[in-house]
Amino acid sequence: MLETFINLGLFVMLVATAVAITRMRRLFGVTMMASVFSLLSAMLFVTLDAVDVAFTEAAVGAGISTVLMLSTLTLTSRIEKPTTRSPLVPLVVTAITGAAIIYGTLDMPNFGDAHSPAQVGVAARYMAESPTDIDIPNVVTVVLASYRGFDTMGETAVVFTAGAGVLMLISGLRRRRRKGDDKKEETS
């Protein structure tokens, strides 16, 4: 019961942060709020027993992500211009999508059900066999590196590819193009 109340409290704060992000027009504040959102969601992950995920979210969401957002702000602009579009169409779209998703959750097993389809199957096998097979206490590490090592290799490759993409887009490796340079290249 206590867990339910903690969850609810965190949710109220999460929704308040999300609404603040929606309404704010100073992008510096938006960045800070996104950081707060990450920290709150890390707390929620702890109450949901996902300590590894909470660790990652706190390190990535509140740390690196904020730094990158701020460096983007210094390269672009810091105020969002007011939009002239009416918010009606987006509201209708999100309401319909949300209603569809909620309709989909109605058939789902209760939160925390130990016999839901997600709990039986391959996860139960991992929990039962990893102590004899691999003998490492942290099952998350075991599944990450050993049982699903191929998956993790793909993820590492994706991280590498994304980094290479960023370097191709904005790295200082190539001589920086200025307006004068373009003309020179065209004439030569």
Partner: protein, 146 residues
């Protein structure tokens, strides 16, 4: 950030512990929350913090960008190389039992260590490289405008 004296002193004190903590998260990941992904991010934070406070030239003197770019690819190679090594020992791809045929669980320990190290190297490299890429560009907003 020449004028922030306290920030500079505290940063100097913090960078060592941050790297130590990253290594702890990396090598204690078998027993407690943590692993290559988290350790890589924390390790990158140490360099990014140094870069923010002391400037890009200072951090690139310590951790030059050619090295960062090599590390990005090296991590994936370590990961895939572990798999290929087990392939050559006559086992399946990424089946770490190959490294210690008499005690498959010991082989698993070695394999997981190697693979997590590869993840650490790639994630550190990518995060620092992304930070360098953003920090190298000329800002559109000057410091005073904030």
């Amino acid at each position: 950030m020449r004028h922030h004296l306290i920030l500079r002193v505290v940063t100097k004190l913090l960078i060592g512990p941050i790297i130590l903590f990253a290594l702890y998260v990396q090598f204690h990941g078998d027993f407690s929350p943590g692993g290559g992904f988290q350790a890589g991010v924390i390790m990158a934070v140490a360099f990014i913090l140094y870069g923010i406070v002391f400037g890009l030239e200072a951090v690139q003197h310590v951790f030059p960008s050619w090295l960062v770019h090599k590390l990005m690819a090296l991590g994936v190679l370590i990961f895939a190389g572990t798999g290929v090594a087990s392939l050559f020992l006559g086992y399946d791809f990424l089946d770490y039992g190959a490294f210690s045929p008499h005690h498959p669980s010991h082989g698993q320990h070695w394999g997981i260590l190697a693979v997590e190290f590869g993840v650490l190297v790639t994630v550190t490299g990518v995060m620092v490289a992304i930070y360098y890429a953003f920090a190298m560009r000329r800002p559109a907003i000057s410091d005073e405008e904030w």
